[in-house]
């Protein structure tokens, strides 16, 4: 770990230590949001939300651009998670799906029936 890496890790842990900031980051990773639209989602002042956004921005987890009078925030996907890490997470999701399919087939083999019990 270089000194620079340590500083970055400090900034990340600080930025992610707050529940509202984690929530903001989740939203802006999923798509660009204006700061005012974000502010409407929380029971706090616009200025307080702005401060949270600034902390995430300083940590390099979020980028802002101006469009007219609006400040638009989006999550910096590359900064937050590498493609390799994301494919690994996605693989975990698939392994779960496949084992659930397995369980479905195994249950039928045991019962020797084909329950397609509908819940609708």
């Amino acid at each position: 770990m270089t000194e620079q890496d340590e500083d970055r890790a400090d900034a990340w842990f600080h930025a992610l230590s707050d529940r509202t900031r984690r929530d903001i980051l989740r939203r802006v990773l999923a798509g660009e949001h204006s700061v005012s639209a974000l502010a409407r989602s929380y029971d706090m002042s616009f200025a307080a939300v702005q401060k949270h956004v600034a902390v995430l921005e300083r940590a390099g987890l979020l980028t802002k651009r101006r469009q007219g009078r609006e400040a638009l925030a989006s999550g910096d996907v590359e900064a937050v998670r590498s493609v390799g890490a994301m494919l690994t997470d996605l693989e975990a999701l698939w392994r779960g799906r496949i084992s659930r399919m397995d369980e479905l087939f195994a249950a039928e083999t045991q019962q020797d029936t084909t329950p397609t019990h509908r819940t609708d």
């Binding site: 990773l29 996907v77 998670r81 996605l90 999701l93 399919m101 479905l104 087939f105």
Partner: protein
């Protein structure tokens, strides 16, 4: 574990998973052909999937949402491009804006190819998912796989290990 092979292609943003199921091809196909069965396997625990529309035919559309433990709904759709019953199908997987299932055009669609082949009475399934961008990958993971607090943990782990 019936997963027999996993390939990550970091440049093409492609994930290829091969699995062997102890069931005939027709039975594996049925999981996808029956929305109620698909719902049972699609979402991770705590993030159930609900298929609102389900048409597994060429040009058909599937609309579904996943519900997070906090009750937040994530809307998505499949545009089915080809069907070769029971041997497989291909579709474009995209994100929708809300319960109208209007596509979220800011995010690219991913391309999915599912193939089921009979091997000695069992089924070898190959799932190939190709993502157009890191943002699209992130969005998939946000649909109930990743907790906000763990977002950066992987990378921080990498930092700590380096």
């Amino acid at each position: 574990m019936p997963v027999t092979d996993v390939q990550h292609d970091l440049d093409a943003l492609t994930l290829t998973i091969t699995a062997d199921f102890a069931a005939p091809v027709e039975r594996v196909w049925e999981v996808y052909a029956d929305p109620r069965q698909l719902e049972r396997v699609w979402g991770p625990p705590g993030y159930p999937a609900t298929f609102v529309d389900h048409e597994l035919v060429p040009g058909g559309r599937m609309n579904y949402y996943m519900t997070s433990p906090e009750g937040e709904k994530y809307y998505a759709y499949w545009d089915v491009t080809s069907v070769d019953q029971p041997k497989g199908f291909t579709f474009k997987d995209g994100f929708a804006l809300d319960e109208t299932f209007a596509p979220n055009t800011e995010l690219p669609e991913s391309s999915q190819v599912y193939d089921f082949t009979e091997v000695d009475g069992s089924t070898r399934a190959t799932f190939v998912a190709t993502y157009a961008s890191a943002e699209a990958l992130q969005q998939v993971l946000d649909m109930g796989v990743v907790e906000g607090s763990t977002l950066a943990i992987n990378q921080i782990d990498e930092l700590l290990a380096s």
